[in-house]
């Protein structure tokens, strides 16, 4: 199809899977963190906020390098897993999912934190006086009022992972069918002067990004979220 080989399609599929799985897991895990950051009055939260923002300024290769060391058979995480009878995480799909989650953390936490902060405490108090338990309040009031924040978090995290290169190469290597993503495949094509294949795969990435974003903007327009009345 359009000069795409089976290997190219596999790389594209892995990219999609990585971005989807990584984003979903990250949003679920980052929600409590963002909630806590938006609500806590603890002064030390600035340290946590800095740590969350760190991936914004760190070169992906640096992060990838540290994670590789950590996830490898002799690293703290990898070593612990090995001693428990599991396989270490270097050069695995799980490894690049976790890596991409660290990498996208600020892109998820920031929009969620802003959304939670702007929802304000009042709506939650109102729901409290209307017999809603804490969890009920979160689901019935906070979540729907933070829709835009979640949408931004999904888009940013997905897009960010979709195009990531350096960190995935570091942690995952370039194992076809496991950790070789589309951006790495494109690089390989260019390395071997196969510009035609590079073009096809690149065009596929551009088209999918375009369609995805358009869908999201359409959704966003449909579910307009009004301010507090």
């Amino acid at each position: 199809m359009f000069g795409l080989t089976a290997a190219d399609l596999t790389a594209y599929w892995i990219t999609l899977k990585l971005a989807t799985v990584g984003t979903v897991v990250l949003v679920v895990l980052a929600t409590p963190l963002a909630w806590w950051l938006a609500r806590t009055k603890w002064k030390g939260r600035i340290v946590v906020e800095t740590l969350v923002a760190l991936p914004l300024v760190m070169p992906p290769t640096v992060m990838g390098f540290y994670l590789l060391v950590l996830f490898g058979p002799h690293g703290w995480v990898g070593g612990l897993l090995e001693s428990l009878g599991y396989r270490h995480l270097a050069f695995t799909f799980t490894g690049i999912v976790i890596g991409s989650m660290f990498f996208s953390l600020p892109f998820v936490v920031h929009p969620l934190q802003n959304a939670f902060a702007s929802t304000g405490i009042r709506v939650s108090e109102v729901a409290n006086t209307l017999r809603a338990s804490p969890w009920d309040r979160f689901v019935s009031v906070i979540l729907p009022l933070s829709r835009r924040g979640f949408l931004s978090a999904f888009v940013l995290s997905f897009a960010h992972t979709f195009g990531e290169f350096g960190m995935i190469l570091m942690i995952g290597g370039s194992i076809p069918g496991a950790t070789k993503v589309a951006s790495i495949a494109i690089y390989d094509h260019v390395e071997t002067m196969n510009y035609g294949a590079a073009h096809s795969l690149s065009l596929l990435l551009v088209a999918s990004s375009f369609i995805l974003l358009m869908l999201i903007f359409a959704l966003n327009r449909r579910y307009k979220v009004a301010g507090m009345a």
Partner: protein, 355 residues
């Protein structure tokens, strides 16, 4: 059957201290200036603020004591905030039903149709909160709170953020609420006219301290209390409607066995009516005067006098049966009348406003 509370909130420069036993019926106003601690006290009662060391019991049920604390959502109360704070992602109907759906079926005393009718919300149900006026929003917020069938209704200056027209739109609903629904209401306000119109019981709070509490009239006319020292010193008389149409667009009330004429007021004979009479609108005479434009003349007895706001004036407290009327007169008039405690006089009432 009451609300007992004991809270001390220490914010360094400001300390709120309140140990109170309030009647669990009628409207109790927490009255005081902005920043006097009224809202903080209301939030403690609601459980929105968890004050350590606080004590709170409602109708014999302990809501807070020591480490025991019933969270707000488990307390059978309704709360109306100063800003309506409707949920922007829900329609008016969605807002109204939010609390209703969370109350067990056997505990629902009020249902949507009756509350919608009581508050006149029929035409608003499908709208979004941002399409409503301030007064409409506050009515929806009130209905939303009522639909949880609360045993106690807490209101934090529900009219303060509204313009005069919207206030007049809401006040009759609040009066109906008080008269028809039998829910005890705690009403925070710094507007004396709202308090006179709605409250049965008043707690005066100043700078975090409770200065006095008691019936509305006693608080308005109490000798040592702040109201008698204001320009708009007044009393609130409890009267009954005798004749709705007394001719000339007037209605006749009866207060302590004496007639009192007011501008035409619709209602049924025997119905309770509260009227407000300002001290400056009451003159005194030794004999009931003939040939005067003043219609209302009540036989009263002098209780005591105190200095007025300016040296030339006196404030006189008068007994009207079991109730108290205030009159502001000049010191010269007092001397000419030979004013003294126990003296029988006639109070000439120039203006009577509905309370």
């Amino acid at each position: 059957m009451s609300l007992k509370l004991d809270f001390t909130v220490d914010r360094g420069s400001f300390i709120l201290q309140a140990a109170l036993e309030l009647p669990a019926r009628g409207v109790t106003a927490l009255f005081g200036r902005s920043g006097s601690g009224k809202t903080t006290l209301l939030r403690c009662i609601a459980g929105l603020k968890r004050q350590r060391g606080g004590y709170l019991a409602f109708r014999g049920e302990t809501w807070q004591q020591g480490k025991d604390f019933v969270p707000t959502w488990k307390r059978p109360l309704g709360y109306v905030f100063q800003e309506a704070s409707l949920f922007p992602h829900l329609s008016v109907r969605g807002n109204l039903e939010y609390g209703y759906r969370r109350v067990a079926e056997e505990k629902r005393h009020f249902h949507c149709e009756e509350i919608v009718a009581l508050l006149g919300l029929e035409t608003l149900l499908g709208r979004c909160p941002d399409q409503l006026s301030g007064g409409q929003r506050q009515r929806v917020a009130l209905g939303r709170a009522l639909l949880t069938s609360p045993e106690l209704l807490l209101m934090d200056e529900p009219l303060a953020s509204l313009d005069a027209a919207s206030k007049e739109e809401i006040l009759p609903f609040l009066e109906r609420l008080r008269d028809e629904l039998q829910i005890p209401i705690i009403y925070v306000s710094h507007a004396i006219d709202e308090v006179i119109r709605l409250a049965d019981h008043v707690v005066l709070i100043d700078n975090g301290k409770v200065i006095a509490q008691g019936g509305l009239q006693a608080m308005l006319t109490g000798r040592e209390l702040p109201f008698v020292r204001t320009e708009s010193a007044s009393t609130a008389l409890e009267a009954r409607l005798r004749t709705a149409d007394a001719g000339d667009e007037l209605s006749e009330l009866e207060v302590e066995g004496q007639p009192l004429l007011i501008a035409r007021h619709p209602g049924n004979p025997g119905q309770a009516v509260r009227v407000r009479i300002l001290a400056r609108d009451v003159g005194l005479a030794l004999q009931p005067p003939a040939d005067t434009s003043i219609l209302n003349c009540l036989a009263v007895t002098v209780l005591d006098t105190q200095p007025g706001l300016v040296p030339s004036q006196l404030l006189v407290r008068l007994a009207l049966g079991g109730q108290v009327l205030l009159s502001r007169i000049s010191c010269r008039s007092a001397r000419l009348l030979g004013l003294h405690a126990g003296q029988n006089l006639y109070a000439l009432v120039k203006t009577v406003a509905l309370g």
